[in-house]
């Protein structure tokens, strides 16, 4: 347990680990959904501290990673146009589209700006009424409410030179897609804590019941992960499949109702394509009809852009837990953080980046044969 002294409370960590070791009698495969959780696990070597029977599979919970290539290409197209100020979060700058990225577009003269908050982009629109200001709205249920509020504010303030390039995705349909895959080995989920702080836990009992999988809402600190694993393993060993909230200090059962109400007003559920995975039904949001004027895809007529993923990138398998990053032929050769093939390598929350950053090259070979799912 060479990493244990790095925990904030090593004694509590040891007790949790002892309890997990004492509970496990059979092999179990758990998926952590959140990319932040993946980084905590790899950084602290949590997967190596757990009993050999407990395997952690990294899930599709990195918003940058799952943004589809065609949406990146639409962003690049819009950002290249004269008269446009294209605003984005910083972690999208190096995500490769077909042949280039936003960082390159800026180098070529495009007015690409990084903002901390979508409201910053709205302020830029107010300051530059002669320009079209576009904000790249990516992310899960945690990021969608801020973007919804920004569009709501734009409409309320009568700001017409602002629009949103929407690529929002929802976690529960992704869990559904993982469970429906014929190659699925996942037997339980550590649900993403911050997503649940907005959405609550109401979407999970039906999923847990239908697929007979325990779902434990989990934070992203090392002790949170251990507690999530402990509760999950306990359920699995008992043959239970309920929803538990192990992150009650930040997650209330009903979530943030004001944020959920704004989401329901500004967005409507739609099918979305996930990078490397493909279309997942009802897995995303688009602007509702009342806000359609603020949809950058329509305003800039880029709805027709369709792009194929590079065949060499196997990030879709990584995102579904079918392949460990270092098992990919391209890992560290044709795909590095300096020259990434796919977003799982460039994103700070991507599994490939985590393996590269923390030198996790000696992980025991995954106990599976990798094969893509449809």
């Amino acid at each position: 347990m060479k990493y244990l002294e790095e925990f904030q409370d090593p004694e509590l960590a040891r007790r949790l680990l002892d309890d997990i070791h004492a509970t496990v009698t059979r092999p179990w495969a758990l998926m952590e959904v959140c990319g932040g959780q993946t980084h905590t696990i790899i950084r602290h070597g949590i997967d190596q501290l757990l009993p050999e029977q407990v395997e952690l599979i990294h899930g599709p919970g990195c918003p940058v990673c799952v943004t589809p290539l065609e949406m990146i290409d639409k962003a690049l197209e819009i950002a290249s146009r004269p008269g446009v100020i294209f605003c984005s979060f910083g972690d999208m700058l190096r995500v490769p589209g077909t042949g280039r990225d936003l960082f390159t577009v800026r180098g070529e003269g495009g007015d690409v700006r990084v903002v901390y908050s979508p409201l910053d982009a709205l302020r830029i629109a107010q300051q530059h009424p002669d320009k079209e200001v576009v904000f790249f709205g990516i992310g899960f249920e945690t990021t969608a409410p801020p973007n919804a509020m920004t569009v709501y504010q734009a409409r309320k303030l009568g700001i017409r030179n602002f629009s949103l390039l929407v690529s929002h995705v929802r976690v529960p349909p992704a869990i559904e897609a993982v469970m429906r895959s014929p190659s699925c080995r996942v037997q339980a989920f550590l649900a993403a804590g911050h997503v649940c702080s907005v959405m609550g836990v109401g979407e999970y009992p039906e999923l847990a019941e239908r697929h007979r999988v325990p779902i434990v809402v989990t934070g992203f600190e090392p002790l949170d992960i251990l507690e999530g694993v402990r509760r999950t393993v306990r359920q699995l060993e008992r043959g239970e499949h309920t929803v538990e909230n192990a992150y009650a200090r930040a997650v209330r059962p009903e979530g943030n109702q004001a944020a959920r109400a704004m989401l329901a007003d500004v967005f409507e559920v739609t099918d979305r394509s996930w990078r490397g995975i493909g279309v997942i039904p009802e897995s995303g949001w688009r602007l509702s009809d009342r806000y359609r004027d603020y949809d950058a895809e329509h305003r800039f007529s880029v709805t027709g852009i369709k792009t194929l993923e590079p065949a060499a990138c196997r990030s879709g398998e990584v995102l579904q837990g079918l392949l460990k990053p270092h098992q990919c032929e391209a890992f560290g050769t044709t795909c590095t953080p300096r020259s990434p093939l796919g977003a799982t390598m460039v994103s700070s929350e991507g599994a490939c980046a985590a393996y590269y950053l923390y030198r996790r090259l000696d992980v025991a070979p995954a106990r599976l044969e990798a094969s893509p799912v449809g």
Partner: protein
């Protein structure tokens, strides 16, 4: 950008009819929208994501999480210069690895 960061409310004001706050994230100060947590008060902590307060958090929990984020370099990632980070291959300390060396290690 997936993770939310705890911060302490320093000041609250109305702007364009919107409830806004000045929030301290362990030394970095940002403007934060309180529309989703309108009853948050000066001195309280909340988890904040892309400039929006999403849930109240107690002080002990907030300080512990901030310390962890500082340790993991996540505060730098969230509030540092994104252009510099992008120019440095996402800001990671790659230790000047020659591409390919790592893959050889991986397969040995």
């Amino acid at each position: 950008m997936c993770l939310a960061v705890p911060g302490r409310v320093l000041e609250i004001e109305e702007r364009d009819g919107t409830r806004m706050a000045t929030v301290d994230f362990g030394g970095v100060v940002k403007e934060v929208c309180l529309e989703y947590l309108p009853d948050l008060r000066v001195g309280e902590y909340a988890i904040v994501h892309v400039g929006f307060a999403l849930q109240r958090l107690d002080e002990q929990e907030a300080l512990r999480t901030l310390a962890l984020f500082a340790d993991l370099g996540m505060l730098q990632e969230e509030f540092g210069d994104p252009w510099e980070a992008a120019a440095n291959a996402n800001g990671y300390p790659w230790h000047g690895d020659a591409d390919g060396e790592l893959a050889r290690e991986a397969r040995q």
